[in-house]
Symmetry: C2
Subunit: 133 residues, 2 copies
């Protein structure tokens, strides 16, 4: 992977915020530094940075949001305004005694495990989908 000013700028913008921004928000910000940067470049680099494990993708409603904070943590998402807040709490605490001191009205939990299913692992061994991401 070759260095690029665009990617560096995108990453540092993400690292400087705690707001879990969308690609569009990043685009607006990075344009102040690189005025003619293309939106496609922003998307491409966000995908690459995710692939390299330098940022996390959160998919809320219809949009991706990005987070450069790699310390293990979870998120609270407001169903009204779509804001995302960091939650630093053990999963046990979260599901057991749900937040009393937290200014959120929590109405639901989405827990999702990610990985590779059995069938895909088998195919992987057979080399059948080396072409799949």
């Amino acid at each position: 992977m070759r260095y690029s000013r665009q990617r560096e700028s995108i990453l540092s913008i993400l690292q400087a915020t705690e707001s879990h921004p969308t690609a569009d928000w990043v685009y607006d910000k990075v344009r102040r530094e690189i005025s003619n940067i293309s939106l496609g470049t922003v998307y491409r680099n966000l995908a690459q940075l995710e692939e390299m494990g330098q940022i996390r993708r959160i998919n809320a409603d219809g949009q991706s949001r990005f987070d450069a904070n790699l310390s293990p943590h979870d998120h609270f998402r407001c169903l009204t305004c779509s804001s995302i807040f960091d939650i630093h709490m053990s999963h046990d605490d979260m599901t057991a005694g749900l937040p009393a001191d937290v200014p959120f009205k929590v109405t639901g939990i989405n827990l999702e495990l990610l990985g590779v299913c059995n069938e895909c692992q088998i195919k992987e061994i057979k080399g059948e989908n080396s072409h799949v991401a």
Copy 2:
């Protein structure tokens, strides 16, 4: 809410599967019963059923998936083929001793709390966003 054959059909299709289908999959299925049903009708009804709490929406990658199984459970999503599987396990077990007997290679957990943030609760009281979903 008025009865409609279309909505009934959509709901019963969802209740008959464990595959967490997309709107498009539901559309294909329901067309076998109501051949001229419109895709817009499928989307509208899925949104209404969700609103009424009769189905759950799961948002994976760029698409919504739907689940009529209302018993509390979580999901495993394959990063390769996008399949979603039900996980019936306590959150404690899930995050503590992660699945050993399960045929998934688990590489990540997304836990997301949903609800209404402090700011939105205040606005709600003031009646400022009665127009917001």
